[in-house]
């Protein structure tokens, strides 16, 4: 654990992030599982850095979700960030109402790899700004 009183975390079900992002909690599950894990942290005082709705994808389209969160250990555990809570709940509602969530590896390999890549690409700047971007990722699509 770092000595500073705060840190950034990433919760994701996108295997493309493995080795590329520090403080990564890789979830074995669908997008809703990622949102649920994030929500549980928000209930304990973590805050959202990135919007859970990022990317113009519908819940039944993009299988991957990546959330960047901020933990301030000096803060009171009970102080829930309302904006984060509202956003994550809205996102869970929207994903929960979806007809059928896409699962990782649901699509043909090439398309699945594109989904992984775009998920990563949309978050790349945020990872960098939060100092959790690891080695540079190759940016070639899965064709």
């Amino acid at each position: 654990m770092s000595l500073s009183s705060f840190s950034y975390h990433c919760i994701s079900n996108n295997p493309h992030l493995r080795g590329r992002v520090a403080h990564l909690e890789l979830i074995d599950g669908n997008a809703l599982d990622v949102l649920t894990a994030s929500r549980d942290r928000i209930h304990c005082g973590w805050r959202l850095i990135s919007s859970p709705f990022y990317g113009n994808f519908k819940p039944d389209q993009q299988p991957y979700r990546t959330i960047v969160l901020y933990e301030d250990r000096s803060a009171d555990m009970a102080s829930v960030d309302l904006e984060s809570l509202k956003l994550i709940e809205d996102a869970m509602m929207s994903y929960g109402n979806s007809r059928a969530l896409r699962l990782p590896d649901d699509f043909p390999r090439r398309i699945d790899m594109d989904f992984r890549f775009v998920d990563f690409a949309l978050m790349e700047d945020t990872f960098r700004e939060c100092g959790i971007l690891g080695s540079h990722a190759e940016r070639v699509l899965g064709r």
Binding site: S51, G55, N56, Q61, D114, F117, V118, L122, D125, R143
Partner: protein, 431 residues
């Protein structure tokens, strides 16, 4: 700043040996010259061109962008500044427009890409580009091309093609069928004009979330800008270009940016019902801090302008719903009255909540329709592009391609169908 749009009306499109506008209004294009303009051996394995006319039994898929052929006839700069021409500011002088024609780019950046234009049938009722004479470019990338670079190559090729066509036609001596003048004076003057009318500005939200979700202003990636003021005439000269490839229904193609209907409508009412004083562009980013910064900054500009009213248009859904509501709330709390334009994701049955966010301040909303509505698209005789992606385009699902060749999709898959600039007549109501 004063801009004249010199419009030549295009009534047909055909291949020929020279690119020019024929007497009967047919846009004749030299395929050879066109392709030589956009060849790029570094990125494209192949580039092909085709045509699609209103009423034809043709489907174009997957559409990346649509561009209206324009070029400068007089005045500073050239269209699409910062991308295929110098960065000098545009928006004054004269611009030649091939009204009724469009360049459609069709290229697969990623495997899940979407965007259908049907030239006839049910789907044609929902896309504005079933009514234009389309020159379609079909790209295939070389192996191993980096995604961002390939998106850019396709984007640039479309712009080049549009300028090439407009310029060739103009230089071949095409005459104007119609001239439209757009004039908005300096702030010092405009703020005092029409003292009895409310001052109104337009808050123009641009999709800027990252790869496949980007918009460029004078060549700059708009996710990196602070909200700023742009002259409405600059948009007519292609200062804003789409790099957005997802969510076909509500992405603003470059054509929509060139022909922004909100700007057109505000100009129409200028001096009669409102005093239209300016356009503020802002972005739709991924992080909450960026959202708050942009929203607060954009509304601050509106306050500095001292406007009474603001039209706010969104691009995309989900993530930008938060920006839209944030912008609305901030403006209303600053005493600026707002009207929003958005589309809806109310589910196939229309029973779900339409937006990912809501606020009681958002009491004046124009809807561009429910993008989840299902529609049946008949089989087409001719396909331009690649249909094997139809099954996985947004709104589609396994089996959406039926044995008889017809497809069942959500409106979301159709290019420009629920445009949040208010381009179309489509809307929604509560039943």
């Amino acid at each position: 700043m004063r801009l004249e749009l010199i419009k030549a009306h295009v009534k047909g499109v055909a291949w020929g040996c020279k690119t020019e506008l024929l007497k009967d209004g047919t846009l004749q294009v030299s395929k050879e010259d066109l392709l030589s303009q956009i060849e790029d051996h570094e990125f494209f394995k192949s580039v092909d061109a085709d045509m699609a006319r209103p009423g034809e039994n043709t489907r174009i898929v997957p559409v990346k962008d649509v561009i209206e052929p324009r070029c400068k006839a007089e005045g500073e700069g050239e269209v699409f500044p910062g991308l295929i021409s110098d960065v000098t500011s545009v928006g004054s002088g004269k611009t030649f427009v091939l009204d009724g024609a469009a360049v459609v780019t069709c290229g697969r950046i990623v495997g899940f890409q979407e965007g259908i234009i049907d030239m006839s049938g049910k789907g044609a009722e929902y896309t504005p580009f079933s009514g234009t004479m389309n020159v379609v470019l079909v790209f295939e990338p070389k192996n191993g091309i980096e995604a961002h670079a390939y998106e850019k190559a396709c984007r640039i090729a479309g712009l080049k093609a549009a300028v090439y066509i407009a310029k060739s036609v103009y230089e071949a001596g095409a005459q104007a069928d119609e001239v439209k003048v757009y004039d908005m004076p300096a702030f010092a003057e405009s703020m005092n004009a029409y003292p009895g009318l409310p001052k109104v500005a337009y808050l123009y939200m641009l999709q800027t979330q990252g790869l496949l979700h980007d918009t460029y202003v004078y060549g700059i990636d708009a996710k990196k800008i602070l909200p700023t003021i742009i002259h409405p005439n600059e948009t007519m000269d292609g200062a804003i270009v789409s790099g957005n490839c997802v969510s076909a229904c509500d992405k603003n193609s470059t054509y929509m940016h060139q022909n922004n209907p909100v700007i057109r409508s505000l100009y129409d009412r200028h001096g009669k019902d409102v005093n239209f004083v300016g356009v503020i562009i802002t972005n739709e980013n991924v992080t909450l801090a960026d959202k708050r910064r942009s929203s607060s900054y954009a509304v601050k500009i509106a306050r500095m302008l001292g406007v009474d009213g603001l039209i706010i248009s969104e691009e995309g859904f989900g993530n930008p719903d938060a920006d839209l509501i944030m912008n609305c709330r901030a403006a209303e709390r600053a005493g600026i009255k707002t009207t929003l334009i958005t589309d809806e994701y109310a589910g196939r049955d229309g029973a779900s909540q339409s937006l990912a966010d809501a606020a009681s301040e958002a009491d004046a909303v124009v809807s561009a329709g429910n993008a989840n509505m299902m529609i049946d698209l008949p089989k087409m005789e001719k396909i331009i592009g690649f249909t094997d992606y139809v099954d996985i385009i947004a709104g589609g699902f396994a089996g959406s391609l039926k044995p008889d060749g017809s497809i069942e999709v959500e409106l979301q898959a159709i290019t420009g169908s629920t445009c949040e600039l208010g381009f179309n007549k489509l809307g929604a109501e509560t039943w």
